[in-house]
């Protein structure tokens, strides 16, 4: 994952003139994009709205305008907090949150998502953490997050957050021993087999969109 496979490149060639079709076929819930009526309610309802370089409304317009690079390389979709405010307010009932996640994932899959995007890193660390044992190890998750940019940066981060960690520790809501062994599922192996299979099916399906 991360780099465009040859298969992907072949599949993409035919989309060169129509990013909208590419999104419709390859992005989760992407076939909804064309139904946007450009009212802008999503843009006005967004939690981190002011921090989006392009609002969802604009992203939909850019997709129609064929601005493939600008959309996929944008860090806008990574600003989504999954608050679903746009979804419940959209008069056309577009699953906007899911589309934003879908676009983010697609960009990541193609390897064009912005590097060092903190939310992307968070997502990857979280997922890797949870599939390892089947359950999230909150301590290790937090630590991997802090140390993702290297040892020194991690120590700085950890130090700045130490009062919080201490407070949680005191409230028995953080377990230092989790670093060595945390909660985990019994059937770890089964879960791993299952996920491997799911990913296999998924790439098969993605390849099927020719």
């Amino acid at each position: 994952m991360g780099n465009m496979t040859e298969l992907n490149e072949q599949a993409l060639a035919k989309y060169r003139n129509s990013f909208l079709h590419e999104v419709e076929e390859r992005v989760e819930e992407g076939d909804w994009v064309k139904m946007c009526m450009q009212c802008g309610v999503c843009a006005g309802s967004c939690t981190f709205g002011p921090h989006w370089e392009h609002s969802p409304q604009k992203i939909f317009m850019m997709i129609r305008a064929g601005k493939r690079e600008e959309v996929l390389r944008s860090d806008s979709m990574w600003m989504c907090t999954s608050c679903y405010n746009c979804v419940v307010r959209c008069p056309r009932k577009l699953p906007i949150t899911q589309i934003m996640h879908g676009l983010a994932q697609y960009a990541h899959r193609l390897g064009v998502a912005p590097k060092m995007q903190p939310t992307r890193d968070l997502s990857l660390i979280f997922w890797n953490n949870c599939i390892k044992t089947g359950r999230v190890n909150e301590l290790r998750f937090t630590l991997s997050l802090y140390f993702k940019d290297g040892l020194m940066a991690g120590i700085r981060q950890a130090l700045s957050m130490q009062s919080i960690a201490l407070a949680l520790l005191m409230a028995k809501r953080l377990n230092p021993l989790e670093f060595f062994k945390g909660h985990e599922c019994k059937d770890k192996a089964g879960i791993h087999r299952m996920l491997k299979k799911a990913q296999e099916i998924e790439s098969r399906r993605q390849g099927a969109h020719k």
Binding site: V88, Q105, S123, F126, W127, L174, G190, I201, E202
Partner: protein
């Protein structure tokens, strides 16, 4: 009232010494008083939460959730699955809707589940604990186990996002859901119904990745509670609780504010009203203790006034 039984999906944060472990403690106390039996789904796994989208494809995420469904159907047949975490519940609802709507996705999911020796029959329903309270038990029944009132404690009901959107509790509006206020009033507290940050997002998991932006949200949420004279914030969501409670010290440190607003779960209010002590109500898990709630919990009530 006959005992109600549910397949319980606690979620990662509720585990022992997890960030929402006190939530689980209070839920257990509350359910015991309401004669609700929660049986954890054997060997349940993480739902993937909302944030795993970059790494995990759609099918992969549905498969993770479907494993829990399949386990529940196998071990606790006929029981609705109940989650206490907003994201777990939302993820479950999304997976269920998607699989119900797409036979292709259902077939693919079961193909993957087969690797873990499981099969999902699409029978189990995904419920939130709040739905169980509001729909299965009702406000009147919720009053019955009460041994003390919250004595007009001023409480800002912070519903947040994912318990409210996109599914929400049936019959409630997305812009101004009322169940949390009703619950507070049922327990004898004073619901600050004009609290305008009721459904504002706390930043969710982006509290980790975009701390400055999220802390601005959290500051608004807490300051508005102060503006309305709140003694505490109550929430149904573990991530809301954690974000809004634990980052107050960070905000104070960076911005020179003096925020110290307790943030509790609805289940803690109920556990206290039902006569639970501070430990049984998970109050010892507060980073910012609620003096008011601690006092009420400590109060000894004469037996059987109700």
């Amino acid at each position: 009232m006959a005992k109600k039984e549910y397949a319980f999906y606690p979620g990662c944060s509720s585990q022992l010494r997890g960030s929402a472990s006190n939530y689980l403690v209070s839920v257990n106390t509350m359910c015991e008083k309401l004669d609700v039996k929660l049986t954890p789904i054997p060997d349940w796994n993480c739902c993937g939460a909302s944030i795993s989208y970059a790494a995990a494809g759609e099918l992969t995420r549905h498969v993770m959730t479907a494993r829990n469904f399949a386990l529940a159907e196998q071990h606790l047949p006929g029981q609705d699955i109940v989650a206490t975490c907003a994201a777990c519940w939302l993820g479950g609802r999304e997976t269920k809707d998607k699989l119900d709507a797409s036979s292709q996705m259902m077939a693919d999911t079961n193909e993957a589940l087969k690797e873990a020796g499981l099969h999902y029959k699409a029978e189990a329903q995904m419920r939130h604990m709040v739905e169980v309270l509001v729909e299965d038990i009702g406000y009147e029944e919720m009053k019955k186990p009460m041994v003390k009132s919250l004595e007009g404690a001023k409480i800002a009901g912070y519903v947040g996002c994912q318990t409210n959107r996109p599914f929400g509790i049936a019959g409630e509006s997305f812009e101004n859901p009322l169940y949390l206020d009703k619950l507070v009033e049922t327990m004898g507290g004073e619901a600050l119904t004009k609290y305008e940050q009721k459904v504002t997002c706390c930043g969710g998991s982006l509290a980790f990745s975009e701390p400055a932006k999220s802390q601005k949200q959290i500051r608004d949420i807490v300051e508005s509670a102060y503006d309305h004279g709140a003694e505490m914030i109550v929430t149904p969501c573990p991530l809301c609780q954690a974000n809004v409670e634990i980052y107050q010290s960070e905000i104070n440190r960076k911005q020179g504010t003096k925020l110290a607003m307790p943030v509790v779960y609805y289940s803690q209010l109920m556990a206290v009203a039902y006569g639970g002590n501070a430990k049984q109500a998970g109050l010892d898990g507060q980073v910012i203790p609620s003096k008011k709630l601690d006092e009420i919990a400590a109060k000894v009530v004469p037996v059987a006034t109700k």
